[in-house]
């Protein structure tokens, strides 16, 4: 077990090293950092001074080592545009994104898996057919269109819920939560549904497909031949075997939620890291882009690590070896 985790950990470190190298190279290849710091009309002397200050004349490996050292301490420098430390900016906006992703993940997992099992067991019921057809529409709806439609219906037309922004926050240290007030929930519900819908349909379809696949196996046929009840076959035999591949994809999907939070946050003007990232891209604000890249990769790597460990727990073939 320890060996297994260590191995995965080593792989994760490798991935992070590569991602950090990519984000480091952003500084060097995208735009001129000096221009970004002082603007076009600085004198030559000013420029040279800043170059030295930033250590831009050092060998590239030294610069990378420094970048890594700083990054490990959470220091990604100053935002070109807002002129504030990037780590501060990210920490400020992190709770908004994480809460949004959390609520969406719960919706996507609970509804997606439940409907997936239902359609997998009742293959030919008309309710299953309807759910499946609707889910295909769901896969075809771009996130931003869902967002616009929800805003139009619930905020503009019915005026039940706010159309944008986050409200009703309460502070716990640096963490601002909106999950403890009714206002906060009213604000989060539309963006959370928007964000979860696409992943929900993916999970639903995946669980169903895996369920059907497992139903074709010999051991299900043998379980039938032993006269076991449908219930035992569906839940004890089929479902557990379905879970093994589903866990991986669900891990990826939660990563997908983080990615699509960029779009949802833009549509709803949700003050999270995604909105900050997209604004940074607009202005080629490299420190924020680089930090966000590292941050997302880190989240992903952590999720994958958890997934691998879950795999290990669920599947005795991996746990006990052959």
């Amino acid at each position: 077990m320890i060996f297994f985790v260590l191995k995965r950990l080593a792989q994760s470190v490798l991935v992070m090293a590569i991602v950090s190298a990519v984000s480091f190279s952003l500084f060097n290849f995208v735009g001129d950092p000096v221009n970004n710091m002082v603007g076009q009309d600085a004198t030559r002397e000013q420029r040279i001074e800043i170059r030295q200050q930033l250590g831009l004349d050092d060998p590239i490996l030294t610069q990378y080592a420094r970048f890594l050292g700083n990054a490990l301490q959470g220091d990604f420098g100053l935002s070109y545009r807002i002129k504030r430390p990037v780590d501060e900016l990210i920490l400020e906006r992190l709770p908004a994104t994480l809460e949004l992703v959390f609520v969406s993940a719960i919706i996507a997992l609970v509804v997606g898996i439940t409907l997936g099992i239902y359609t997998g067991i009742r293959r030919s019921a008309w309710t299953s057919r309807i759910i499946l057809s609707v889910s295909l529409v769901g896969v075809s709806l771009p996130t931003f269109i869902i967002g616009i439609a929800l805003i139009y219906v619930f905020a503009v037309h019915l005026r039940w819920l706010p159309s944008s922004g986050r409200s009703g926050t309460m502070e716990f240290g640096w963490w601002k939560t909106s999950l403890l007030t009714i206002d906060g929930w009213r604000a989060i519900i539309l963006p959370a549904i928007t964000l979860s819908l696409f992943q929900l349909t993916l999970i639903l379809r995946l669980v169903r497909a895996e369920m059907l696949e497992v139903m074709q196996t010999d051991f299900i046929k043998f379980a039938r031949a032993r006269g076991l009840s449908e219930r035992a076959i569906n839940f004890r035999h089929a479902l557990r075997n379905t879970l093994v591949p589903v866990i991986t994809i669900i891990g990826l999907n939660i990563g997908g939620l983080i990615a699509f939070s960029v779009i949802t946050e833009t549509v709803f003007q949700w003050p999270g890291t995604g909105l900050m990232f997209i604004q940074a891209v607009d202005f080629v604000d490299v420190p924020i882009m680089a930090a966000y890249l590292v941050f997302v990769a880190l989240l992903f790597v952590l999720i994958n690590l958890v997934v691998d460990i879950l795999y290990f727990v669920v599947d005795p073939r991996i746990r006990l070896g052959n």
């Binding site: 010999d218 051991f219 043998f222 031949a225 032993r226 076991l228 075997n241």
Partner: protein, 570 residues
């Protein structure tokens, strides 16, 4: 004798879009308590369909369209799903072919047993557990209690099939249907499982229906035999009568095609009852034909020489060499094959016999040792021109006729590939002519060349494979279990074809098989392999009459008894 199960004029249909397939037609059979009935037939005979129909587990859209199934006097046809569920497991048990896939990989053996016991026996908790231990012991699994906590992947194939049998017995059924229960197992395990089934049948007064394609299995276990052909029962009777003095033409042909272990025949008697099985050969004159024109220099007399061959596979990777887990697939193997002879390599699965073949064919590189083909060393610098030229003389016929042909290529392109690549024909027209003649020669006919592999049966595909091998104008043909995926009747015709080709072309043949009777019919000399090394090399007749090595004797003992079949006509 009172009958346990009786089917009367049972019809099973599979409606498809091309019309209704009648998989079984008015099948009547009966099983009594304490009796083993062998249900034999070749693929497509409908034998498994009958087994599935009895416990109402036909695959969709199959259904019983007529007839009745009487079990202990009750009609089973038309029962509701919940009524059938109380019969399955409780009163009729079922065993499937592949123990690898029959058990849920994520549940312990104990959990699967206890779940079944709780459903069928009204036992709970610790008494269910006690019963599970008893069952495992009854099927010959020792130290049963700790093994309840083990997962299926921790058991060997034979052990898993024992667990499957224990599960089938859990509800103390009166009838067991075993669908090819030993086909996926090695010979030695096969014998143990058959003994177990037979013993359980006698001890518990169980009725057993054993569905199989293997006459050997029937001969060693069945009391009575039901022979099926194309969905119909053609003959039913006592095992000694059906195997020893068959009455129906099909049964006669089928039994004649079974390879004999008790003497060498010149040719196999092919099953002429099956229409279209015997195709006229358009023979070509080897002396003048393209096929006979390969430049071959006679060498020292040994076509293949293998010295101290070693090969290990990495089971578990590790950066440090010491930590790698290796399995020695081939260990210190040396032998030589004389020009023009057929050399047999026999052994159970995992013995390394196929690996040796693949080493000689150049599909693997040995860790150590020398391979010489027609005197040329092909192992030390395999990419050199001389080694490549020598290798061109070696071609191979594979086991699985379904994966050995590229499904996206027409037969002509498959067979012509070596001719076109090496430009051994002067132009495209000649290539096409040669391919047509090769197809004729292997008994397929030139008109096959424009079709795709999926339009052919297993035996026909094997003929295409042979034509492809011939297109390289080989001197040495490696046959890796060439007929073990085929029906007995088809096997006979393919083996005859290989024998003919060898004589005409003076081919050297390396014949790999687990099937001793087949090897006896085909080979001049035989090597016995076990765990990667050679046990014994001997002339074929000597090996069968006077085996020297202990393991050879063990293997020969395991051969299914065919004495019921009457004396072979030598």
């Amino acid at each position: 004798m009172t009958e346990l199960l009786k089917t009367n004029d049972l019809d099973v249909e599979f409606p498809t879009r091309r019309g209704t397939v009648r998989a079984a037609r008015s099948v009547s059979l009966a099983v009594g308590p304490g009796e083993v009935v062998g249900l034999v037939g070749e693929s497509g005979a409908g034998k498994s369909t009958i087994g599935n129909a009895i416990i109402d587990l036909l695959e969709a859209p199959g259904r019983v369209s007529a007839g009745s199934i009487l079990f202990e006097g009750e009609e089973l046809c038309g029962r509701s799903e919940s009524e059938m569920r109380s019969i399955r497991g409780d009163r009729i048990g079922m065993i499937f072919q592949d123990p690898q896939t029959s058990l849920n990989p994520l549940m312990t053996i104990g959990a699967q047993l206890i779940e079944t016991i709780e459903k069928t026996c009204d036992l709970r908790g610790s008494s269910a557990k006690t019963r599970a231990v008893e069952l495992l012991e009854q099927v010959g699994i020792t130290e049963a209690l700790p093994r309840l906590a083990a997962y299926p992947h921790q058991f060997s194939g034979g052990m898993r099939q024992r667990v499957v049998i224990a599960l089938a017995l859990a509800g103390d059924p009166d009838l067991i249907i075993a669908d090819e229960p030993t086909t996926a197992l090695d010979v030695s395990i096969q014998a143990q499982i058959l003994d177990l089934l037979k013993r359980l049948c006698r001890e518990r007064d169980l009725g057993v229906i054993i569905v199989t394609h293997d006459i050997g299995v029937v001969a060693s276990i069945a009391d009575r035999v039901v022979v099926m052909y194309r969905g119909e029962v053609v003959e039913t009777g006592d095992v000694a009568q059906v195997l020893g003095a068959p009455r129906h033409e099909y049964t006669k042909s089928l039994i004649a095609a079974v390879p004999r272990a008790d003497g060498k025949l010149d040719r196999f008697s092919s099953v002429d009852y099956i229409e279209g099985n015997v195709e006229p050969f358009q023979r070509i004159d080897i002396q003048t034909h393209w096929l006979g024109q390969a430049q071959h220099e006679r060498t020292s007399g040994n076509a293949i020489e293998v010295e101290k061959l070693e090969l290990s596979f990495v089971l578990q990777k590790a950066i440090i060499k010491r930590n790698r887990k290796l399995v020695r697939a081939v260990a210190d193997v040396s032998f030589e094959v004389k020009e023009g002879e057929t050399f047999g390599l026999v052994g159970e699965s995992g013995s390394g016999k196929s690996t040796v073949a693949r080493l000689i064919a150049g599909l693997h590189r040995p860790d150590a040792g020398v391979i010489r083909v027609n005197g040329q060393d092909v192992s030390s610098s395999p990419r050199s021109g001389a080694a490549r030229d020598a290798r061109r003389a070696v071609q191979m016929i594979f086991q699985d006729p379904y994966s050995s042909l590229n499904a996206r290529m027409r037969v002509i392109d498959i067979v012509a590939e070596p001719i076109r690549f090496y430009r051994t024909a002067s132009n495209e027209a000649e290539t096409r002519k040669i391919v047509g003649e090769l197809l004729d020669h292997v008994g397929l006919g030139a008109q096959a060349s424009l079709r795709y592999p999926h339009e052919f049966s297993g035996g026909q595909r094997q003929r295409i494979s042979i034509a492809r091998a011939l297109a390289s104008r080989p001197r040495i043909l490696i046959c890796d279990e060439p007929t073990s995926a085929l029906d007995v009747s088809v096997q006979a015709t393919i083996l005859n074809l290989l024998k003919d080709l060898q004589q005409e072309l003076g081919l050297t043949m390396l014949f790999i098989s687990h099937d001793l009777p087949v090897v006896r019919q085909m080979c001049d000399r035989i090597a016995v392999m076990r765990h990667g090394s050679l046990c014994e090399v001997a002339d074929a007749e000597t090996l069968f009459s006077d085996p020297q090595h202990e393991y050879s004797r063990h293997l020969l003992d395991l051969m299914p008894r065919m004495d019921l079949l009457g004396k072979a006509e030598v």
